[in-house]
Point group: D3
Chain length 188, copies 6
């Protein structure tokens, strides 16, 4: 396990980590070619590791959204919340899943300057409001998503990705999780 | 299932809901004497129901914090995020778990005006910063928690409750989940 | 006089308080069954006591608004300004005057989540703007109130309640006025 | 009465105005050499006129503060709230009472750039916080005023001026009260 | 050279200042009857003096805007950025160029309360957005300017004045440049 | 000239562009291997082109700061102002000048998460304040820079870079300048 995965909490040794978590870490490592630091970091507390990745898996796997849309939401939200780990790691995923090498830098900086369809612009405007001022959401915000062509379940799924990464951004910033060097480069 | 549990998504019929979810709903109903609307609402999407309550259970059950401290964090964060469901439902839980009938109204309005120990004041100041401006968190914020006597694991647990309810507040507001009438009154 | 009515200024003894102020305090005490702490607190400076309650009486008595509307405005403004005394004391009055046990908690948390007519929603949207960013008010805000059916005098009266409680919230927070225990419970 | 005293409510004719209010207006007119528009404007609702000027008189007459300090507070608060009438009218009064022709423009723009003693800087820093974010006030803000040499009653009086002009700024902006031409020039 | 032109950097002696800069200073002094302090201040770093006034000259001389419009933009932007030097010095220029003694105080306080045509209101609304939240600018903001009758080059010129004074306000505040006494009075 | 250099103003043909400007464009093109779009964009208005690059040259060439420090300031400021062109183009320059492939993404997202010396952290904290709330700057901010070891001229130069890019960010966003594709990749 990489001691430099985060700076504010100790990363546990493999010997201390339960088998189901090691198994997940090994799968991810095989898939990515390296262990994304978020796995080493969340291993600090196994029950939270399980819950965090269960929610992450739910919103990325049981969804009406395309995977590039999910990563667009994540990068936009993480840019608003100034979360380095999530911007860099999910920037890489967005470049790969959307086959769009410039989109991540655009969304992390300002979704208004990104090359987007009108529908995706509406989706990301909503993500911005739900992130910055959740208490301001009312029927008119939801109506704007419907007018842009999103179904009820798509709206739920958009809201879920935004919400999960409002969680994720806060944990990554609190722990000062460090993006793996590989993420800065992937998919460019 | 209560059609009025939320206004922006349809609540499913019992017949449509997987058994493991019905089982959890029934357990909660038995314990509370009524079904908290958040269960009816999340049943809209079973995989998200499982993930949401798994994370909720993780941060309330595998924790170094006392249960009243957890509810203090939740009510403070939910007040900042203007989330009606969470303020009212967890306000009830705080009154009961802390045996403190006034504390929930104080924290939902302004934790600076609440009757708090210095340690709890530091904990809630941190919760406010992590909620309002997660990108501003740096070593000095974490040091202030340590100076107030919190261990590393306690700081992780505080951050986890704050983060999970930054998720929860957004889903509850998006869905317009309605607090059950019973919550307004419990524990006063 | 209750020494705990506020924490940042001393509450005077009855012997030090002018007769006209004692008379008002006694009337209020008889009506409420206890002395609301705001009276003990403002007795600290008799000339300010007289002015404060004169303005309070003017906006609650010489008005085109219904009393529940006045209390809806007060609870909404006080929630925005995070004023514990005013949220709790006027929350109680709103529950009683509107015969609506849940409305105060809804408005103190987020008027967008409250059960409101369109006209009252417009009224409280205006109250929010006038409270949070008074310099942003222009003809379009006033027009929205007229379009919602409010007359000129009603708009003046709405603005007056909002303005008086922008005063009141600041004095109550500065003095750290403590809500009487009774207010937390009344009208539920 | 000047129909141009405000743009959003009608100014009443003298014939419609109660005698006690005409008397006050005439006194002010004699003293200033013209009728400040705030008097014509508040005559729209006599009971509010009486309450408003009663509170105004209380905080300017029964006070531990010097008159220039009161006007410094008013101009600073009114600048923060972007209130044209109050900045211009009380800017004139500040120039005259403080015999300081530049101070009003400095405070209306940025009290940090004004020529101030340390004590007055502390007073105006406090006025800024109480105006912009009243819910953030806690013991440390009050302690800073005490450390700057202010007594309890002076702190109450400072808070009262700030609070009354948080009322006044909102009414003047709502009504779009227009500063008399004379105020722009007085005391320069 | 005036040692009191700014408080946070030393003002150089004439002997230290290159001839081209002395020449410009002397021209300005002859024209105004005194040396505006911004010239003494920028002489601290001659290369920056040349660049600053070159840009200033470009946006005031090669422009589709009328000079009063330029000064309206400057005073509005400087008021938003709380820049004392720019509000006072350009307030004087606005009074003179627009032959409008009250306009500068109105715009420095709140352009919503100023006596403006609809077109100038649109121009200043845009200046406010570009100053306060440049990242929020999108096609809709530019369209609003076009709908108000501004050509492409006028929009460029408006944006340039706003941008140059977002530079200027920051340098003046950082250096604590002091407005010459004469500016407070000119054109009233 | 590249018609896609910006979307909100037309890019002129070479034939319309004055010789001195063509010369500068050709020099830049030779040096970079392509024409950075900011040159095509500012050619829209030659007098502004000259002034903009004169100021840019002044703050990058006549300076006490190291070039990597200048680019650190630019990327940080541009990230705060959400300016796509400046984040991407100067991100490339920072990677090259500082020989630090990850630093640009870190600063564009959150300078608190970047690998920085204490002195550079202080420099960028100051850049953040001067960008976000220029009116809040006072002696204490300048003192913090001095305490971190910066001389007067270094502080002037830091402030100048921040100020020039508060101009630049606004022009780039207004014109919707598009970063050349090459910038996204350079120096990684």
């Amino acid at each position: 396990m990489d001691d430099d995965a985060m700076t504010r909490f100790p990363v546990p040794d493999r010997a201390e980590i339960p088998d189901d978590i090691l198994e997940r870490i090994d799968e991810e490592t095989e898939e990515a070619g390296f262990t994304p630091n978020v796995f080493d970091a969340f291993a600090y507390k196994p029950s939270h590791f399980r819950a965090f990745f269960a929610y992450h898996d739910a919103v990325t796997e049981d969804t009406t959204l395309e995977r590039p849309e999910i990563e667009m939401l994540i990068v936009t939200v993480s840019g608003i919340n100034d979360c380095l780990y999530c911007v860099v790691a999910h920037g890489a995923l967005l470049r790969i899943f959307a086959d769009a090498p410039k989109l991540a830098d655009q969304l992390a900086t300002n979704h208004r300057s990104a090359d987007l369809s009108d529908q995706h612009r509406a989706m990301l405007d909503f993500a911005e409001t739900l992130t910055e001022s959740p208490g301001d959401i009312d029927d008119s915000d939801v109506k704007r998503l419907r007018d842009a062509g999103f179904s009820s379940e798509e709206i739920w799924d958009i809201g879920s990705v935004v919400s999960v990464f409002n969680l994720s951004n806060r944990m990554a910033t609190l722990a000062d999780m460090r993006p793996n060097d590989a993420f800065y480069e992937m998919g460019r």
